[in-house]
């Protein structure tokens, strides 16, 4: 079910939590809201669910305006950050809750509720847990119960707030793939909030990057990574070194850093006009060759092998640059000649 957000704003006291949010999600899409903490992503999700309220702007879900529709009438599946399972109910009762609180007229008979709950628990791979209490199961299992509970009301839209935030790395990876498959099989429309860029890249069809209450960029994971829309996105994603530089006469000059200039043709992106810029250079975009002490501009501090490459910390003047280099003769302590292959430039 499609979601259309137009001009959405939200203030908390003097803090602008969301500002002029424009976002359209097509039915069947899996969209990540990615941003640092405090960027407003959870607030946006809560407004969609009817758990918080906008000061301005509109939300349409499935073509229906949501203004004045309380959370309980929206029928949206919401998975809370810490799952918010009902602690006094068994897993079965948790999942059945949304069906049991329906008005008598639309409430399925108890036998059908039971069948649906069991089917869902089966689908989640946890049929054996139905009699347990939330405190008696693991974090990953709770996550599945929370998902089953949200899906029991057959929501056209699924919202997930940091769905893997409370899990350890191994469980997180397994659940991630599983959630993506579930989304496809059940033809859901899903939005999830995360601060973990790797997670957003691995799961989402499109990623919306939030910066201080605004959407800085919304694009496919590849585009967000390759063509960041502004300096914030470039800095937030892909672990790039950020260097001050000057764009003039068709080249980037890194002075006073002792780096060779880069011609404009080598750049991934750059402003049209000359002037001071910030250059973002990712780890794999560096090259370093051994050099005599007189010609060297940097010193390799330390290096360790990483998948056929060399993960190196290189001292460049007072800066330390992380570089992912092809395996070579360099070793810790070697003076070297460091140069960027390319860069993404944004006006400073």
């Amino acid at each position: 079910m499609s979601v259309i957000i137009r001009g959405l704003s939200r203030r908390f006291g003097s803090a602008q939590a969301l500002q002029d949010i424009e976002l359209s999600v097509r039915a069947g899409e899996f969209v990540a809201l990615l941003g640092p903490s405090g960027s407003g992503k959870t607030t946006l999700l809560r407004i969609l669910a009817g758990l918080d309220f906008a000061d301005g702007g509109t939300v349409q879900i499935g073509g229906v305006p949501m203004e004045g529709v309380p959370a309980r009438r929206r029928g949206i599946g919401f998975v809370f950050q810490n799952y918010a399972l009902f602690r006094h109910m068994t897993v079965f009762e948790n999942v059945a809750f949304g069906l049991r609180v329906r008005p008598r007229a639309s409430r399925p008979p108890e036998a059908e509720i039971a069948a649906r709950v069991r089917r869902l628990l089966e689908r989640m791979g946890i049929p054996e847990l139905e009699r347990r209490l939330p405190e008696q199961i693991s974090g990953g299992q709770r996550q599945r119960v929370a998902l089953a509970r949200a899906l029991a009301i057959e929501p056209p839209l699924l919202l997930l707030d940091e769905p893997f935030g409370a899990l350890d790395a191994a469980v997180r990876h397994g659940l991630r793939r599983w959630l993506r498959e579930l989304h496809n099989e059940m033809s859901l429309t899903s939005l999830f909030v995360t601060h973990d860029q790797e997670e957003a890249m691995a799961l989402a069809d499109r990623v919306a990057v939030l910066q201080a209450g605004r959407i800085a960029q919304i694009d496919t994971p590849e585009m967000v990574l390759e063509r960041p829309a502004n300096a914030f996105v470039a800095g937030f994603l892909g672990q790039a070194a950020r260097l001050p530089a000057m764009l003039r006469d068709g080249a980037v000059d890194f002075a006073p850093l002792p780096l060779p200039p880069l011609p404009r043709e080598a750049l991934v992106s750059a402003p049209d006009r000359d002037g001071p810029v910030q250059a973002f250079i990712r780890a794999h975009e560096w090259r370093a060759e051994p050099a005599a002490p007189g010609q060297a501009n940097a010193v390799l501090r330390s290096a360790r092998p990483s998948g056929g490459m060399l993960q190196a910390d290189i001292a460049l003047g007072e800066l330390t640059v992380e570089a992912l280099l092809p395996a070579g003769p360099l070793r810790a302590g070697s003076p070297c000649l460091l140069r960027p292959l390319t860069a993404r430039l944004f006006p400073a």
């Binding site: 908390f12 809560r46 309380p70 959370a71």
Partner: protein, 302 residues
């Protein structure tokens, strides 16, 4: 008002869900409650709570604040400056402060043992601390009187030593200490429990002796809690009636407490005079709690 007494509530700092006051201004009829947050019941619960509070607490206390002024300022002064009233107020306040001060080390001892020691029967002792909370004051008064009367289990040996407890100011202080003890223990206990053991262990590795650790590390950390407990115990003891009047003997000018003066004046239908003493008690308690609260703040250089 009694800020020291609301320490039991853990008030969380600004919650992210806070609805700004301005949000309520631009809503359509009926949606005001929903603007406060996603949950229903704001209007209903606030209405019930305000009615409950006003009808049972605010309006009656309003009467207490207003009635004494019927006497006029000079009449009010005369009413309060009767030697018998002054003596009773002095006994209630000084007695309460003395009782709390004497109880303080015992309260600290009990809190310490309950938090740091593990032994069979500890839970029973823990429950016993609340006994003065749960025991009806008249029962406590009766029990203390029986125990400390000149022919009582403890009163007889004390009398042999020449110490009279029952029917003297000492008895008043004893009863006040009895009702105040749990307040001190229960205020110090959670703070002591949260006190990191590492600080003491670090002090020990730095060569501090046990008394030094207690005096320089533990007590300063507990000082605000001890003061707060002292304040609560005093507040309770100042107003205490049931457990005191049985053992006090109630001799005017000697062992008569302020609440009893109120009762006596009411029996003589001197409503304004009774209210004057009540108001004086409230005002003095308030000043006392305010002073202790300021002292606590001074102790906690944030």
């Amino acid at each position: 008002m009694m800020a020291a007494c609301s320490t039991a509530f853990t008030s969380r700092a600004a919650d992210a869900m806070a609805a700004p006051p301005s949000a309520a201004l631009r809503t359509r009829p009926g949606s005001l409650a929903s603007r406060r947050g996603p949950l229903p019941g704001f209007g209903l619960s606030l209405g019930v709570a305000l009615f409950w509070l006003s009808a049972l607490v605010l309006i009656p206390l309003g009467a207490l604040l207003l009635r004494p002024w019927e006497l006029g300022v000079s009449g009010l002064w005369r009413s309060l400056s009767e030697p018998r009233v002054l003596a009773a107020l002095r006994l209630s306040f000084l007695g309460a402060l003395t009782a709390s001060a004497v109880t303080l080390p015992f309260g600290l001892l009990l809190a310490w043992v309950l938090v740091r020691d593990r032994f069979p029967g500890r839970r029973l002792l823990d429950a016993m601390v609340d006994l003065p909370f749960a025991l009806p004051t008249a029962v406590a008064g009766l029990a203390l009187t029986a125990l400390y009367a000149p022919n009582g289990w403890l009163g007889a040996p004390l009398a042999a030593l020449g110490v009279k407890v029952a029917y003297t100011p000492l008895g008043v202080i004893l009863a006040m200490a009895f009702v105040g003890l749990p307040f001190i223990v229960r205020t110090v206990e959670p703070v002591l429990r949260d006190l990191p053991r590492e600080a003491e262990e670090a002090a020990a590795t730095l060569g501090a002796s046990r008394p030094q650790i207690l005096w320089r590390v533990v007590l300063p950390a507990l000082a605000p809690a001890l003061l707060a407990g002292f304040a609560m115990a005093s507040a309770r003891a100042i107003g205490e009636y049931g457990s005191v009047i049985f053992i006090a003997g109630n001799m005017p000018m000697v062992s008569e407490i302020a609440p009893l003066v109120i009762v006596t004046r009411l029996e003589q239908f001197d409503y304004a005079g009774a209210a004057a003493v009540g108001l004086a008690m409230l005002a003095l308690s308030f000043l006392l709690l305010l002073a202790l609260n300021l002292a606590t703040r001074f102790w906690r250089p944030v």
